[in-house]
């Protein structure tokens, strides 16, 4: 019960922040509009050569990219709570450490599902074929959403509000853009760049979402496993870090 009460407060805090909402929802959609427009205006042969920007590839990519802003939401909220001494009040309340983390995490799960759903619904207007695969794709995005949520918790636990903007707003969104196969195929670059991309969860998340949309079910799990492992490890790390920080409290 306490957890739900706290979670609903966090939901309000996030949804009432117009700027984060803009970046979380509108910005990814704007990119989709732009790229779809570019894709439809370039010559046909060129468009066929770069299948990356065709909507069935673009939509899964942008749905993952959009989730990177979820980190920003949670990190900003936590780091702000820490600095405004509001958290002191909560720390002296009966709320326990795990209720805290749940309270910060829970609102973000439905939010990220909604975000993915909105992204795919928008994609339908740009010609994405309506199939049950879209529903599955929304589910397949949950592990990468958890990765971003955990990264947000970690950043919010250790960084101040300014640093959070830099790390989550700039660094993380860029990482998930460059190393994710969304805008270009990392294998075209090759070398360390490709290895690095494959060592991180973002490209695997995008790949699994694309396999879902294209109906290549057999290829999903090998990719998705990467993301699930990352999600579990990062969540465990975030919970440990947050609990330790709460116990020590500087």
């Amino acid at each position: 019960m306490r957890t739900i009460v706290f979670a609903s407060r966090n939901t309000k805090e996030i949804l009432r922040d117009v700027i984060t909402l803009f970046f979380g929802l509108v910005f990814p959609l704007v990119i989709m509009v732009l790229l779809s427009a570019i894709n439809s205006s370039i010559p046909k042969e060129a468009a066929e050569a770069t299948t990356l920007f065709q909507i069935q590839n673009l939509a899964p990519g942008i749905s993952v990219f959009g989730l990177s802003f979820i980190s920003l939401f949670s990190a900003q909220l936590i780091s702000k709570d820490r600095t405004t001494s509001f958290v002191l009040r909560l720390f002296t309340s009966p709320l326990k450490a795990f209720e805290f983390i749940l309270g910060y995490t829970l609102p973000l799960v439905p939010m990220s599902i909604a975000q993915t759903a909105i992204c795919y619904i928008a994609a339908i207007f740009f010609g994405l074929e309506v199939t049950p695969n879209i529903l599955l794709a929304i589910v397949v995005n949950i592990p990468i959403a958890l990765v971003f949520i955990a990264l947000g918790l970690l950043a919010g636990t250790f960084l101040n509000e300014k640093a959070v903007g830099g790390i989550c707003g700039a660094l993380l969104t860029n990482l998930s853009a460059w190393f994710s196969n969304i805008w270009f195929d990392t294998s075209l670059v090759g070398g360390w760049f490709e290895s690095l991309a494959n060592a991180m969860p973002f490209a695997h998340a995008v790949n699994s979402a694309r396999y879902v949309i294209s109906g290549e079910y057999g290829k999903i799990m090998p990719e998705l496993m990467w993301v699930i492992v990352y999600a579990v490890v990062l969540l465990a790390l975030a919970i440990t870090a947050f609990t330790m920080k709460m116990k020590r409290n500087k």
Partner: protein, 242 residues
């Protein structure tokens, strides 16, 4: 049974001893003012007593519950208004109050009537639906204190509650506090000596992390051999400074 009894409560930061072997007792229903110059260790003491930071050594019993081994029980009994205003910025006044009431276990209906109570008590009718962020500093402070009261704690910690309040608001808060006197135990820190003198049953004076004296305002004046409480404070707290 005391409301609060500390035994050699100590907090050390690296090379700095913020609170040094503190032994103080507060009776049930008492209003106890903790005084001391900047950096004397008042806030640190309150933070330890409210289970916010663990003591380096020593312990304290709050209504017989140890802050070290029984913090979950302690937390249910207390509430704190921290030295810095602590409100959720994007929530309205009503939502802030409801949040605290419900975290301490009130159901939706009870919470609502408690909130209405607080709004009445603190004269916040005009701002119930304003976001906390848009309030003036003084009103945020009042909200912050109302949030500490709404859980109906048995022990209430008020760390400089009247800081930044205008004269009228301060007097209003005094009235609220006076009404609580005898019903719950209150620990209050303040730099306004007349406030401590007017409100408290007993006063503890800290200097350099140590409790220098603990008595009624009258007795402290007598002990320091002066008619003015301010003079008494200076003599007692100053001893530690020299």
């Amino acid at each position: 049974m005391y409301a609060i009894k500390t035994t050699n409560l100590t907090k050390k930061y690296k090379d700095k001893t913020a609170v040094n072997s503190l032994n103080l007792t507060v009776n049930k229903g008492e209003l106890y003012a903790l005084l001391g110059v900047n950096g004397a260790g008042k806030s640190t003491t309150i933070k330890m007593l409210s289970c916010l930071i663990p003591p380096t050594s020593g312990d304290a019993l709050l209504l017989d519950n140890s802050i070290v081994s029984d913090s979950a029980k302690v937390k249910q009994l207390i509430n704190v208004s921290p030295q810095e205003t602590a409100v959720a910025e994007k929530l309205s006044v009503r939502e802030n109050l409801e949040l605290v009431a419900r975290i301490y276990g009130a159901d939706r209906k009870t919470a609502k009537s408690k909130v209405d109570d607080m709004i009445e008590k603190f004269d916040m009718h005009e701002i119930v639906n304003s976001r906390a962020k848009t309030l003036s500093g003084g009103w945020q402070r009042r909200l912050s204190i109302a949030m500490a009261l709404i859980s109906e704690p048995e022990i209430l910690f008020l760390d400089e509650p009247t800081l930044g309040l205008d004269v009228l608001a301060r007097r209003e808060l005094w009235t609220v506090i006076e009404k609580l006197k005898g019903k719950i135990t209150i620990i209050l820190t303040t730099h306004y000596l007349e406030e401590a003198e007017a409100l408290s049953d007993r006063i503890g004076i800290m200097a350099k992390g140590e409790l220098k004296a603990e008595n009624t305002a009258e007795n402290l004046k007598r002990l320091a051999d002066t008619d003015s409480f301010e003079e008494a404070f200076i003599r007692i707290a100053g001893e530690g400074v020299k």
